[in-house]
Symmetry: C2
Subunit: 485 residues, 2 copies
C-alpha cells in the first residue's frame, strides 16, 4: 500500500507518519523537536550534515519492524544509526528521512559460554561484550579505536576492524547469525548460532552492507578465550620505511601478532603533547607497537624474535610490557592519536585505505609527496600488519575552500592505494564519503552485480539511499541495466 500517492499535502502526510510511528515505538520513542534533532545531523564524519525529518528510538525487533513498515507504506527513506561514531558518513541522514536509532536497544540477550557465543541487541556498546564475559575468561576480539562508545550494530553495518583484527579478523569473522528487519518490514533470520550453516552466506552478505539491505536487531557474536599472556613491544625507528620493513619481516618470519601499529613522528608528538604517555620518544621518525598474545612460552619466544627483527631494521630502543598497567600505558597514545590530532590542528580528516603490506614504505613516501603538493600536513597512524592506513589530513575548516581541497587530496590517496593493489577502505566503510570512488576499484559490471543483490532486499531504495554505491538505481533501472548487460 503506497499511501503517499494519495497525499498532496506534505504536512498532513507527515502528521500521519508521526502518529503511526508513535503507535509503533511509543510517544517517548519519537524525537521531532529541531533542537533535539541536532545531535543526529551527522555521524563521525562531521563535514557532512543533514537533519532527519524525525528520529525514532525503538526498543525491540518488532518496534523496528513497525517503523520500517511505516516507511515502506509511505515510501519514506530511512537510515539506521547506532552510536553515530562511524567515520564514513554511513549513518548520515538523508533529506526527509526517518532516522532509526538503536540507542534504546542495549540488552545483552544471551550469553552461552560453553559454546562461546553472545547474542546482543544492536545498541550494545562494543566494549560491553568483553566486559560481560571477561570474568569467565572470554573476550570479543574486534576492537575499533572507538570501542568504548561505538555500538555492535554499527560495527556490523560497517564491518569494523581494530587493532586486534590482524590476528583475529574483522567483524564479519565474528558474527554467527543475525535477526534482520528488511526494507519491506519483514523480519528474517540469517546464519545461526554455529559457524557451519548450509545455503547462501547471507550473514556475510549483510555484514558490511552499510544499512543498505536492512537493519540488524539481534546479533550473535563469537567470543574467544582470553589469552594466557599478553605482551606489548614498543620499538622506535629513525625512519618510517624501516618500521614498515620490520612489519613485513615480522609477518614473513611466521609470527602473527595480535596487532601491529605504526605512528609517525607527528602523531608521536601530538599524543605526547596531549596525553603525555612519556613512553614514545619524541625524536623518533616512527614507533612500532606490536602486541603478542598466547601461552607465556610462546609470547616469550615471539617477543625475542620481534625484538631481533626490529633491531636488525635499525630500531634504537625496544621496550616491552607484560603487566596490564604498562601495556595500557604503551597503547594509550595510539588509542588517543585521532583525538590528539584534533588538539593540534583545528580540524582533521581521517582517511582509511589499504595497500598490500609489501607496498607500505612506498605508499607512505607517496602520501608525503601528495601532502606536500597540496600544501597539507598528513600525519600517519595505521594498522601496519594489515596494510591498513589511516592518514590524518590536518586542515582548518574555517578557511573557505580547505575542506574541498582536503576531500580531493583524500580521494587521491585512495586512488594511490587502489593503484598499488589495495582497497578503498580497511574498516571505516564507504558510506557517503567514498561512494564516488567505488569506480576506482570496481568496474560497471561489478557494481551492477552488487546493485542487483541490493534490489532483492531494498527494491525501492528506501534503506540508506545514496550510500555505498556511486549511482543508486531504482528497481526498473536495474532491471533494464541487467537486460542490456
Amino acid at each position: 500500500m503506497l499511501l503517499n500517492r494519495i497525499f498532496n499535502d506534505t504536512d498532513k502526510k507527515w502528521r500521519l507518519i508521526i502518529k503511526a510511528l508513535e503507535t509503533a515505538v511509543g510517544k517517548d520513542g519519537v524525537v521531532r523537536r529541531k533542537e533535539e534533532l541536532l545531535t543526529y545531523e551527522c555521524d563521525g564524519l562531521t563535514a557532512y550534515r543533514q537533519r532527519p525529518a524525525v528520529v525514532v528510538l525503538p526498543r525491540t525487533t518488532e518496534e523496528v519492524a513497525g517503523a520500517v513498515k511505516i516507511c515502506h507504506d509511505y515510501q519514506i527513506p530511512w537510515v539506521a544509526r547506532g552510536a553515530g561514531t562511524g567515520l564514513s558518513g554511513g549513518a548520515l541522514p538523508v533529506e526527509d528521512c526517518v532516522l532509526i536509532v538503536t540507542a534504546r536497544m542495549k540488552q545483552i540477550l544471551d550469553i552461552d559460554l560453553e559454546n562461546q557465543r553472545v547474542t546482543v541487541q544492536p545498541g550494545v556498546i562494543n566494549n560491553w561484550v568483553t566486559q560481560a564475559v571477561s570474568g569467565a575468561g572470554f573476550y570479543y576480539a574486534p576492537d575499533p579505536s572507538s570501542q568504548i562508545i561505538c555500538s555492535i550494530g554499527g560495527n556490523v553495518a560497517e564491518n569494523s576492524g581494530g587493532v586486534h583484527c590482524l590476528k583475529y579478523g574483522v567483524t564479519t569473522n565474528h558474527v554467527l547469525g543475525l535477526k534482520l528487519v528488511i526494507p519491506d518490514g519483514s523480519i528474517i533470520e540469517v546464519g545461526g548460532s554455529i559457524p557451519e550453516m548450509p545455503g547462501y552466506d547471507l550473514t556475510g552478505l549483510f555484514v558490511g552492507s552499510e544499512g543498505t539491505l536492512g537493519i540488524a536487531t539481534e546479533i550473535t557474536l563469537k567470543i574467544l578465550k582470553t589469552p594466557e599472556t599478553i605482551c606489548v613491544v614498543l620499538a622506535d625507528f629513525t625512519n618510517v620505511e624501516s618500521a614498515g620493513q620490520a612489519v613485513a619481516d615480522i609477518i614473513s618470519s611466521g609470527v602473527i601478532p595480535a596487532g601491529m601499529e605504526i605512528m609517525d613522528n607527528f602523531c608521536i608528538n601530538a599524543v605526547e603533547d596531549t596525553v603525555k604517555t612519556n613512553c614514545y620518544p619524541r625524536d623518533a621518525a616512527a614507533i612500532l607497537l606490536v602486541e603478542l598474545d598466547g601461552l607465556s612460552v610462546e609470547v616469550a619466544a615471539y617477543k625475542e624474535k620481534v625484538a631481533e627483527i626490529c633491531r636488525k631494521n635499525g630500531s634504537r630502543e625496544i621496550t616491552t610490557a607484560n603487566d596490564l598497567e604498562t601495556r595500557l600505558k604503551l597503547w594509550k597514545g595510539r588509542k588517543a592519536a585521532f583525538a590528539a590530532a584534533g588538539n593540534i590542528s583545528p580540524d582533521y580528516f581521517v582517511q582509511d585505505g589499504v595497500v598490500p603490506r609489501t607496498q607500505l614504505a612506498n605508499v607512505l613516501e607517496k602520501i608525503d609527496q601528495l601532502g606536500a603538493e597540496h600544501g597539507y600536513r598528513i600525519a600517519n597512524v595505521f594498522h601496519a600488519g594489515d596494510g591498513n592506513l589511516h592518514p590524518l589530513i590536518l586542515y582548518d575548516n574555517s578557511i573557505p575552500g580547505q575542506w574541498e581541497e582536503v576531500e580531493k587530496l583524500g580521494g587521491e590517496i585512495l586512488k594511490l592505494c587502489v593503484e598499488l593493489g589495495g582497497s578503498l577502505s580497511g574498516e571505516h566503510g564507504i558510506g557517503s564519503d567514498k561512494n564516488e570512488y567505488m569506480s576506482y576499484m570496481f568496474n560497471d559490471i561489478d557494481i551492477e552485480t552488487m546493485q542487483w543483490v541490493k534490489q532483492v532486499f531494498n527494491p525501492d531504495n528506501l534503506a540508506n539511499p545514496g550510500k555505498l554505491f556511486p549511482t543508486p538505481r531504482t528497481c526498473g533501472e536495474a532491471a533494464n541495466a541487467k537486460k542490456i548487460a
Copy 2:
C-alpha cells in the same frame, strides 16, 4: 535470444547445440559417446545417477563463458563438475543437461609469496596448492579427506572443510577473490587479492553456493606459513562419551588444536583390518587424534595440557608424534576411514551433520539408538572439535529397499542434529542429497530470501537446477512469492 522456442525437432536442436559447443571449446573438448559419458553419471554420492546429454571440457574462462552462453541461448540446464568427489550430489547431472567439467583447467596462474596468495584455475587439485608453495614454507589450510583428488573449484562450490579447519576455518575463510561466469554467460569478478574489500561480500556469497549462482573459473586463495612444529597426540578411551568430554575440556582450556578427530571402535577395527596402522588399540571404544601446531615451545606446552586433560578423562594410553613419518602413520587410519568402511561393508552412506560441541556425547548415544531402531550399524568418525559428525551407515545396496531405509535413517540423524542446535551440513554441502531437509533448519521466509538472491544470478534456473533448495522457483514464481510475503 531464446532459440529453443523455434525448435520442434529435439534432435536438430541438440545437433546445433553440439556444433556451437564444439566451436566454443574445441571438438576435443566435447564428449558425447554414451560409454564415455558413464564416468560423469554421478559424483561421490554414488546412489544417485543421471547421464548428462553432453560433457564439455573447457580450458579457459572464455571457453566456459562460451559454453554457458550457449546453454543460456538454448535454455538448456547445465551443471558444473570438478573432480567429482563431492558427497552430497552437488555435481550430479540433471536430465538433458550440459555438464561443464573443469578437468582441463588445471593451471596455477599466479603465486605471490610475499602477499601470501595463489591464483588457480578450478580444476587444480587441492593438494597441488600446498605442493606448489611448501618449498618456500607455505601451505593451503583446508584439507578435505579427498585432498589428493578433489579440486579447488569443487571445494569453493561446497565450501569444503577438513581436519585443519578447526583452527584455520573452512574454504570460505581462505578465498580472497573469484572470477566467475554467471548463468547469462557474463564474466564477473568478486573480491580481490587482499581481504579488505568494500561493498557486499559476493565472494562469501558465492563460496558454498553449490553451483547455483555460476561457475568459478579463477580462484585466489590465501596461503599460510608452515608452522615451525607439528605434533600429533593419540589418546584412547574406554567409552566414546569420555573422548567427547576430553574434546570439550581441551577447547575450554583455551587450546586451539589444528585438528581434533574421534573414531569409534568399529572404525578403529575397520582401518586396522584394512590399512594396518598398528597404532590404534583395537579394544578402545574410541580414539582421539589431536594435532597441535605452532612454535616448538608452544606445542610442547599444549601437548602436556592435552595429555593431562585426556588422562583426567580416563584415557588409558597417550602416544605423541613429532616427526613427519610417525605423524603420517597416526593420521593414516583416520584418512582411510571411509575407504575402510567400504572394505568392511558392501556399501556405506556417509552423513554429514553438525551439533554444538557440548552435545557431542548426547548425539552419539542417540545416533546409536537410531541405528539400533532401524537395524543398521553406524560407525562414527568425526571432526570432534567442530562438532562435525560423519556417521557411516553400513548397508547392502543389493538388498532391495535398504538404500531407501538408509536414506530415511540419514534424514533422521540430520533432524536430530538440527534439534540439538546444529546444522544439516558441516562441509559436504546440501546438493541433491539434503535439499528436502532444508526446512528442518530454515523457515519459508529464510529459503525464500535465498531464492531471491539466486534469481539475481540464475533467473532461469539453468545453473544446477534442483540442488540446494527444496523447491526451485522460476523467476515469475519468486516474484509472486515476494509480492505475497
